[in-house]
Symmetry: C2
């Protein structure tokens, strides 16, 4: 499609001071002058009104159909930039520059873009593939410990679904992982992206297979919503959701106990899962009905049967509501 | 995809009292209970905040991916319903029930959905095809005279682009057309839809051919924007834009004078074009840069060479800004 007629650069006030300058310099060296929108950081700002800030930026520079959006930051920024790109003049190109582990291994791959709507996570959005994603693992050095660790849940989930060797890699080098050793991170990101890209390539619109990527996410999302998107990070919620999904799978006869134990052990060693709390699970139950994956009164739930072996099965909301609180750790 | 798991019915406070009841009854007879959103009528409410009203309705009934949106009304309602359908949980089905001539012959065909953003018409949206469109020409009896007549501009444009016999039909039966004679209207709507559907079918994403549908729209949109979307109706603006485009085509050596005269004559007989005013054209010029069809500093302008024979050509914005005011009717 050739050189863009205009560029809008999107970042947030945390990330821009750390990593914005090289991006501006790169755009300038290509002879591209860019408009700029600085978002307020945080999942609670991943809203229609945040989206309108980006659209306003596109309007202000009269960005046309051959324009380009560039999103630098975490999943919130890249999801919002992608959705703005999908919607502005019904679709312009965009490039993702993820600066968090979560956005590198998850948000940036697969073309799901969007914003939250009240408690409904990613309820408003589009499937809109980026023209390119550039992951610089050195940017991960500046990520907060909490966000970085949380994202490892998503890597573990990805390993469970499609790359047993990746799980072994995490188990054998937890210290290097926590130290954010760049060469290890390169391998972790590359392997994770490969698994996700393979699945998305086979089922972009989530008609079947892609749904397996939601392992740990049905309960995870509900926990995240119940905490108002701020008590738990997405990664922390997914870690807890993974354990809950594995335990639920045991009861249904899908998941071997050893698999649950192995994943639980790894999550604990990485400081990711402290406690799967009964009260939090109970609070989350009412929000399951808002889950996008719901079709009528049932949810397509993802169960793990083994490494690289997952299945989806319809579970009635009523059953889920009954079982979820009982998946907690024993009290005391 | 089967029976929808939920339905959200969208209309506006003008149309719902006139035509809403049969739709509710039809949904009820199918065993579908629907949520309802009533929009404030008017192009000035075709905004992101209007869109949010529909999204709120979807949220309130927990509409899931197998849900359905039904939009009853003019192009504003169907465009907004379609975009809400495109965006809600990244895409649900929708059905259009257009009740105006403009939405029957234009807005409902081709899957362009969206909202305006400040002065940028349809600047935020998606390509999202409806699962079905049902045109009941009897609903046109309740359309205001001004809106009904304006829409005939769009029919004339369609005839010019792809159906010479439709132009003859309009020329031979102007009284029946203005009387809204149902059997004539059925033929007019059917022929118009057929032309547009043929073109859209060949070029859904407007990479080339589809742009010819914008005949009369580059200047038309600018006139409409300059009037704040309220001084002129879309149809009136397109009527004026058509004349301007034909005159511009004469100067460029594309358009035979007789064609301009024939179309001008028909528009005047139908009470559609009064005066192409120099001041209005001058005011509109500055807004041409916000036109979505712009690529860099040039606009792809559509010229008519004859009946069923249109071409697009890149025109520099600077040239357009110079020539547009001179396309006015002589003063006095």
């Amino acid at each position: 499609l050739g050189k863009p007629t205009g560029v809008l650069f999107v970042s947030d006030s945390n990330v821009a001071p750390l990593h914005g300058e090289p991006v501006r310099a790169a755009l300038a060296s290509l002879g591209l002058t860019a408009g700029y929108v600085e978002l307020t950081p945080g999942e609670e700002h991943k809203t229609v009104s945040g989206l309108c800030q980006i659209l306003q930026g596109a309007f202000d520079i009269s960005l046309d159909r051959k324009g380009l959006l560039v999103g630098l930051g975490g999943g919130v920024t890249t999801d919002m930039t992608g959705f703005a790109a999908a919607s502005w003049v019904r679709g312009v190109r965009w490039i993702g520059l993820p600066t968090t582990l979560l956005s590198m291994v998850d948000a940036s791959v697969g073309g799901k873009t969007g914003v939250d709507f009240h408690t409904a996570k990613n309820a408003v959005g589009a499937f809109w593939q980026p023209s390119g994603v550039i992951c610089d693992v050195l940017t991960l050095q500046t990520e907060t410990e909490r966000m970085y660790r949380g994202a490892i849940s998503e890597v573990i989930k990805t390993a469970l679904i499609g790359d047993p060797d990746l799980l072994t890699l995490l188990e054998t080098q937890p210290e290097a992982l926590l130290r954010r050793e760049p060469s290890l991170l390169s391998e972790v990101v590359e392997r994770s992206v490969r698994v996700k890209a393979r699945i998305v390539g086979l089922d972009e619109r989530e008609l079947g297979l892609r749904a397996t990527l939601n392992l740990g996410h049905t309960i995870g999302h509900a926990l995240e919503s119940a905490g108002g998107f701020s008590a738990l990070t997405h990664g922390e919620a997914v870690g807890l959701g993974l354990i809950a999904a594995l335990r639920f799978g045991e009861r249904r006869g899908h998941t071997p106990r050893e698999l649950t134990a192995r994943v639980h052990d790894l999550l604990v060693r990485l400081g990711l899962v402290h406690r799967l709390d009964e009260q939090a699970l109970t609070r989350s139950v009412g929000l399951l009905g808002k889950d996008k994956k719901r079709a009528g009164s049932a949810v397509r739930f993802v169960f793990a049967r083994g490494l690289g072996d997952v299945v989806t099965e319809a579970v009635q909301l009523t059953e889920l509501e009954e079982v979820v609180p009982s998946l907690a750790d024993p009290a005391g």
